[in-house]
Amino acid sequence: MMSSVALPVAFALVAAAFALSFWRLLVGPSAPDRILALDTLYINAIALLVLLGIHLSSALYFEAALLIALMGFIGTVAFCKYLLRGDIIE
């Protein structure tokens, strides 16, 4: 039941979430909206990697998920700092 029903439905839902966040990234309208959409794309990528790890029953994908979480946080903080101060490293 899990691998036949739940996993395909979950893959479809997360892919739809990807498409919706990507639409917000393209449309905007302001810079914080685009940063928020990029942050949501990172979260969706983590969800998709976790699902792929369950689907292939491989524990290899957690390192990638952890790296995406780390880099996504640093990217969001750098973008916000740029908007707030006009500079990243002062």
């Binding site: 979950a10 919706l20 914080p32 979260i43 976790v50 699902l51």
Partner: protein, 125 residues
């Protein structure tokens, strides 16, 4: 039994991830949009990671604790990035749906004018 529990957790996580992105598209100003993806972070990815932890722990290779790292990191960083995003939006004076308090004048009405005023502030400095 375990299969049903795993299916429930995976479906809950995927549905909440989808609802978070749907809120990002459907809500009408930035401050309400900020509310949507936090559900995707905590409940969505959280239950997906619990499902993954259960799945790998019951395969006979010992307890799987990689997921706890990802969960811990996400739960620490999500409030920080949301706080910084809202500070950036307030700094840019983005248009909000909420009415202003009495006696205060709206200084700008949209993102285009606010970027212009921000640039003029930066030039003045």
């Amino acid at each position: 039994m375990l299969d049903a529990l795993l299916s429930f957790l995976i479906l809950t996580g995927a549905i909440f991830t989808f609802i978070g992105s749907l809120g990002l598209v459907r809500l009408r100003d930035f401050y309400t949009r900020l509310h949507g993806p936090t559900k995707a972070t905590t409940l969505g990815v959280g239950s997906l990671l619990i499902a993954s932890s259960l799945f790998f722990s019951t395969r006979g290779e010992g307890v799987s604790l990689h997921e706890v790292l990802v969960t811990l990191f996400l739960f620490i960083t999500a409030p920080v990035s949301a706080h910084l995003l809202s500070k950036a939006a307030l700094h840019l004076k983005l248009h909000s749906l909420a009415p202003l308090p009495q006696g205060e004048r709206s200084e700008s009405s949209g993102p285009n004018r606010s970027t212009v005023s921000q640039n003029s502030e930066r030039d003045a400095q």
